[in-house]
Subunit: 402 residues, 2 copies
């Protein structure tokens, strides 16, 4: 069997953890499997390098930042190779150049285009354990790029796809994907299986277990993912196209506090005004999530929508600068909101989900400010202070449906 | 003009020093020159990485060690690029892969074979200041190699040769090459010009200003070197094929304490015995320096020779293991010795140098244990405790000849 394993930075933060991971790697290697391991930079290395850069230049170019940050993963893979050698096993570390991990040219947020599997395959043929730097790539000009935070997940999935691996295991510090964040909802249960689409919704709704793009790549190439703990031998969560166990109604509840609401009140009710607003925001790279348009009166309408809270200031500036063009009476901002969602592939064919969700919130006296639905999720906007209570209430309401 | 500048690790150890070097770089760039800069890893980075590796594996493979250590230079060049960008100048950092710095396959001590000047040239054409990682290369299998300690000097000289640069400046923490180590001989004077051959002798005799191999490469390709301080604007020392100023008798006095003497007493006086001894040592990678063979008596002879003190234990083992084959009566070891040398291209045609040297030592009551001469140097072996006194006495004796 050919297995790709990915370990995050905290899993290799110090000598003890490096050896712990080495043992996990060897479990499969000793069984005769071929093993490729993708590693992130150790512990806080990336943050330390960023601090070092900012000390020199508060606003460094992305190209040089990528050049700097990618040294972190190179250190991880070489140290892991040394640990495996010390245990008496053959290992070889490879960086993005060496496996020709070609990406687009966008520094700090590149997308993987192509991996040359030749080098990795030839090392596997020699029975080497192959350790590959996560997070990084090389563009067509031979310049070093990075895939953005969490990009090592994507590296692992892409390698698994390129090598046609039998399994791709993403190791984290939790035992898998949960029906809700276990730190918030104490009854949260580990999910045994989940579909790519559900995982994508969960990831984008605030569950931080997997890098969103890694799930997209896994779905595109049909790579079966396993999310599991690097500290225990628990089974973990399988992410695949279709779940083999009987489909549960919902697979999880997610909460996201990186949300702010903007209400543009009294826009002239004529065609193109909403388009004008959202195209302005898009031009400024501001992602809009839930949108609600009310039928107004006196020839005006109100549009409210949410944006990530960390771009609220940018959004404010764009809107204030264009108030005249938009012909709006006033704009209101609210950064004390949060989004809580339920996700589940079984939801599409079951109209009872929304009402059960709303009932759970009503029973707890929680006010809903906005609602947004898709085929496999329902999101509600509520006061930030209600987030944890809402997650628990909804989780409790669906407890027999997970 | 195209200028290659090399700065060592201590010159870029922290933010202040990085900016100090940035200003030195800009002096020439602002005049319209093309500037390529070779950097070592910051301050103690290399030692810290070695410590990190040894913690994981006391005896790591050289391949993985090279993979680890080369991250240090990559951090240096990217941080320097950020500093230059912050000052408003265009800069680009490049690692060994990017400039196709091809080396032999020997990890941790590779030799440079070829540099692709295309990338560097095209960046220079765009008026970028080009920052290249010193010390590292890539072998024909795409694996990362290093050139050994001090290898960044060689990187700089090789780049200067490949680009046909007008100048190659090696910046250090002293103002140039001195007639003796200024910390030992207070009257030591900076040398204005010195030939490649003299510099090679001085370097191999213990003067630690330039990496030996960098001088070999400079000589081979006729690259004119300037050794100068990164802290002052003093002129420095020019290293070239022939010196333009009137040739001085001697150019410098060097002391080396990494020496031990071995005396093999009472070897059977028959052909091949000396050969046997030295081929045994060579096979075990032990370099022998001064050799002295005495005419013995009773059909035996004595051979004494010096080895670097840090391989004395290895040499001991080889000799003890082979005492029977050598048919020697006994072996004596002395690790309390040092070598003091005078170097000078003018020496060859001037027979008075040796006697002046011996006279200076005699006047100071210093005993000479062994003597070795070449075309352009004379070395004597003496008690380690006499080293500094001998260097001063010889320097004083030659004071009108520098």
């Amino acid at each position: 069997m050919l297995i790709v394993k990915k370990f995050g930075g905290s899993s290799v933060a110090n000598k003890e953890r490096v050896y712990n991971v080495a043992e996990r790697i060897l479990e499969d290697y000793k069984k005769g499997h071929k093993v490729v391991v993708v590693l992130s930079a150790q512990g806080d290395t990336t943050d330390e390098l960023i601090a070092k850069a900012k000390e020199i230049n508060p606003n460094p170019s992305r190209r040089e930042m990528d050049m700097l940050l990618t040294t972190g993963e190179q250190q991880s893979v070489s140290l892991m190779a040394m640990a495996l050698e010390n245990l008496g096993y053959p290992a070889i570390s490879l960086n993005a150049f060496q496996v020709k991990m070609e990406t687009t040219s966008v520094y700090s947020n590149a997308r993987l285009k192509r991996i040359d599997s030749e080098r990795i395959n030839s090392e596997l043929e020699r029975r080497n354990i192959v350790l590959v730097t996560g997070f990084q790539g090389v563009n067509r000009y031979d310049d070093i790029t990075t895939l953005g935070r969490g990009g090592s997940d994507t590296t692992a999935v892409a390698i698994a796809a390129a090598l046609n691996a039998d399994k791709c295991e993403i190791y984290t510090d939790v035992e898998g994907v949960y029906t809700a964040d276990p730190r918030v909802v104490k009854d949260a249960k580990k999910i045994d299986e989940i579909t790519y689409d559900e995982m994508l919704e969960l990831a984008s709704l605030g569950a931080k277990v997997l890098h969103n793009r890694s799930v997209e790549v896994a779905k595109k190439y049909g790579v079966e993912l396993v999310v599991r703990s690097s500290l225990t031998s628990a089974e973990g969560t399988i992410v695949r196209e279709e779940c083999k166990v009987e489909k549960m109604l919902v697979s999880g509840v997610a909460g996201d506090k990186n949300v702010a609401r903007i209400a543009v009140v009294g826009i002239k009710d004529e065609p193109g005004k909403a388009f004008e607003l959202f195209s302005l925001l898009a031009k400024n790279n501001i992602n809009v999530d839930i949108i609600l348009q009310s039928i107004g009166r006196d020839g005006t309408k109100d549009i409210s929508f949410t944006v990530p809270r960390d771009v609220l200031e940018d959004a404010k500036k764009v809107i204030e600068d264009n108030l005249g063009r938009l012909c709006a009476q006033k704009v209101e901002y609210d950064d004390q909101v949060a989004k809580v969602s339920v996700v589940g592939a079984g939801m599409a064919s079951n109209p009872g989900v929304a009402s059960l969700m709303f009932e759970s919130l009503y029973d707890s006296g929680i006010n809903i400010k906005m609602i947004s639905t898709s085929e496999i999720k329902i999101s509600v906007l509520l006061d930030e202070k209600d987030t944890e209570r809402a997650m628990n209430a909804i989780h409790e309401g669906f407890k027999d449906r997970f």
